[in-house]
């Protein structure tokens, strides 16, 4: 197309990428370059901060003036009994929250299956629309709502419980140190259940209706139709999400725990992400960085393991 005829006459190889194509190749890259630079700065450059884990770094003093201490901060995790105890406590919380999350990840599946069983279309829509709202408010707002509902002086929950005689005196739920894991998972599902079910509802809607009709003809009960048609239809999607959450086993995120933490429940609510934040703000930067670093490494290993598992089981990778 773009090869000038003069070049052909001089006997130059005619099939080579035209100059215009070559230009496009680099032009496209140059157009993307500013965005790639932003990606580098905010996602890759922070890895260089791992270096602080090897110094006795104190905020405010330049790194060049701080002593290199090698693996000191990593060693304290196992060498210092108090530190070891702390880390074990935090790990226990992390594992507990993540395990509870994995076990209850069938909730949205059950929600979706039961919701599709409801015959009145308007009611399905009503439930789906309203149960999704909490997903779109921040954890601070969830906490603010909880604060008002459960407060001791004038919260509606305590009032009703006392009036019904279920509890003798008003109880400060949010500052309680018991059942923290369970209340946290409960709040999590209050916020995420409706939203989590949407994907499965879409998957169920995509299942071939003829399967159900054929089962009907064969006299299958409602339960058998769910078990033999709906559930197998959902499983691939469920499996992918489950593997991704295995990859995120050590990343609970911190927003929920940050919002709900207080002096009373701190021991049971501190997951790794929150712990790192808390120790950093107690000004122990190098130790926080060391824990941060270990966490990143573990989570990458888990992700690769989950991905390998996915390749073996369903011949497809998740990332």
């Amino acid at each position: 197309m773009g090869v000038p005829s003069g070049e052909l006459l001089r006997g130059v190889e005619p099939v080579r990428p035209s100059r215009r194509k070559l230009q496009t190749k680099y032009k496209l890259f140059l157009l993307a370059l500013p965005f790639l630079a932003v990606t580098f700065v905010f996602y890759y450059l922070p890895v260089s901060g791992w270096i602080y884990a090897f110094y006795d770094f104190i905020p405010g003093i330049p790194l060049s003036d701080t002593p290199y201490v090698g693996l000191k901060w990593f060693n304290t995790i196992v060498a210092n009994p108090t530190q070891t105890g702390e880390v074990l406590r935090v790990l226990k919380n992390t594992v507990a929250m993540s395990t509870l999350g994995l076990v209850t990840s069938v909730f949205p599946v059950i929600f979706a299956i039961l919701l599709t069983e409801i015959r009145a279309g308007w009611y399905r829509k009503f439930v789906q629309t309203l149960t999704t709202i909490p997903n779109f408010i921040s954890w601070i707002l969830v906490y603010a709502l909880a604060f008002s509902l459960f407060s001791v002086d004038n919260g509606v929950v305590n009032h009703v419980l006392v009036q019904l005689g279920i509890v003798d005196e008003e109880f400060n739920f949010l500052a309680s140190s018991s059942h923290v894991w369970l209340t946290m998972i409960a709040w999590y599902w209050w916020k995420s259940l409706g939203w989590g079910a949407i994907l499965y509802l879409a998957v169920i809607a995509g299942i071939d209706q003829e399967l159900y009709e054929a089962a009907e003809v064969d006299g299958a009960s409602r339960f058998r139709k769910i078990w033999h048609i709906t559930v197998p239809g959902i499983i691939p999607t469920f499996f992918v999400l489950l593997l991704l959450s295995i990859g995120n086993f050590v990343n609970n995120g911190m927003e929920q725990y940050f919002a709900f933490q207080n002096a009373m429940n701190k021991d049971a609510i501190e997951v790794l992400d929150l712990y790192v934040y808390n120790i950093a703000f107690a000004n122990n930067f190098p130790f926080a960085t060391a824990v941060s670093m270990l966490k990143s490494v573990v989570s990458v290993i888990l992700l690769f393991a989950a991905n390998t598992l996915s390749k073996v089981v369903r011949d497809e990778s998740i990332i």
Binding site: L36, G49, E117, A144, Y277
Partner: protein, 297 residues
């Protein structure tokens, strides 16, 4: 024609109707409870008497809370990060997502992968904080908008969407001499409006809801957002009470005197209202966004 229900079926239907009804109620009652408490007499509210419907309706709480020093400024910061941040991330996602569909791009696969992989890997909170600090992005408004420009999930959504557009449209534009920028603007943008609308809404909601970055990066109160201010009000009762005493027209009126509780509830309502207002409009975009995201490129 509808079949008649067997008794066992009717019982099953009845149970799930009730269960879903209760859960739905639990999802919306907190919002309603807060709302009726902010517009009812503060005395009744403080006694815990407002449970199902408002009494002695008034709007003093709203007019007074809006005058708390710092609150309207925080609202401005929240609006700024939502508007500017969303605009930038949608623009960047649209353009980069489109560029990544161009097979001719030098090193396309590597660049695309290196963007996507950031969804699964992070250096950790502290190294990130130190980087932001070294870039002078602490106590800086830019910290709210620059890091969110590249949101890998949005880029995947756009790329997948653009790949589904017949290439002939672009080819014919190229014949007419349209360059990359021109065909992006006149062909791709109009055709990707549905997905751009979806990511606009998701980005706006997430910008509005953000608070961790403020907790990390901002020590000067003038950078506080509404979310963060609300968190402070929830955790610092004494300073909130002092704030109310220091604002002249708040404690003055005998009727509907402002208390830490009334301020907290009203601020919560003010922060949550924008989301509740736009929710009916963006609700229909969900499924589209989720489904495309699930079958990612």
């Amino acid at each position: 024609m509808r079949k008649k229900l067997k008794p066992s079926d009717a019982l099953f239907q009845g149970i799930i109707y009730v269960l879903f009804g209760l859960f739905t109620l639990s999802c919306i009652y907190p919002f309603y409870y807060l709302f009726i408490n902010t517009i009812s007499s503060n005395d009744l509210s403080a006694a815990g008497d407002i449970k199902f419907y408002p009494q002695q309706i008034h709007f003093d709480n709203y007019s007074k809370v809006l005058r708390i020093s710092g609150l309207s400024h925080a609202a401005l910061v929240s609006v700024y990060r939502t508007v500017v941040g969303t605009f930038l991330t949608v623009g960047a996602s649209a353009f980069l997502g489109y560029l990544f569909t161009k097979k001719e791009m030098w090193g396309r696969q590597i660049w695309y992968r290196s963007v996507v992989v950031t969804m699964y890997f992070s250096a950790g909170l502290i190294p990130w904080y130190i980087t932001m600090h070294n870039l002078h992005l602490t106590n800086n408004y830019l910290a709210y908008i620059l890091p969110t420009i590249i949101t890998p999930f949005n880029i995947i959504l756009v790329k997948t969407f653009v790949e589904a557009i017949p290439p002939s449209l672009e080819e014919s534009a190229a014949m007419d001499g349209a360059g990359v920028l021109r065909s992006f603007w006149s062909i791709i943008v109009p055709l990707t409006t549905p997905i751009l609308a979806t990511i606009t809404i998701f980005s706006a909601v997430s910008q509005w809801n953000s608070f961790i970055d403020t907790a990390f990066l901002m020590t000067d109160t003038k950078y506080y957002t509404l979310q963060f201010l609300l968190w402070r009000y929830l955790n610092e009762s004494s300073s909130l009470a002092a704030l109310i005493r220091s604002s002249p027209d708040m404690a003055a009126s005998v009727q509907n005197m402002q208390t830490p509780t009334s301020v907290r509830m009203t601020v919560t309502m003010i922060v949550v209202l924008p989301i509740l207002i736009v929710y009916p409009f963006f609700q229909r975009f969900f499924v589209k966004g989720i489904m495309i995201g699930a079958v990612k490129g």
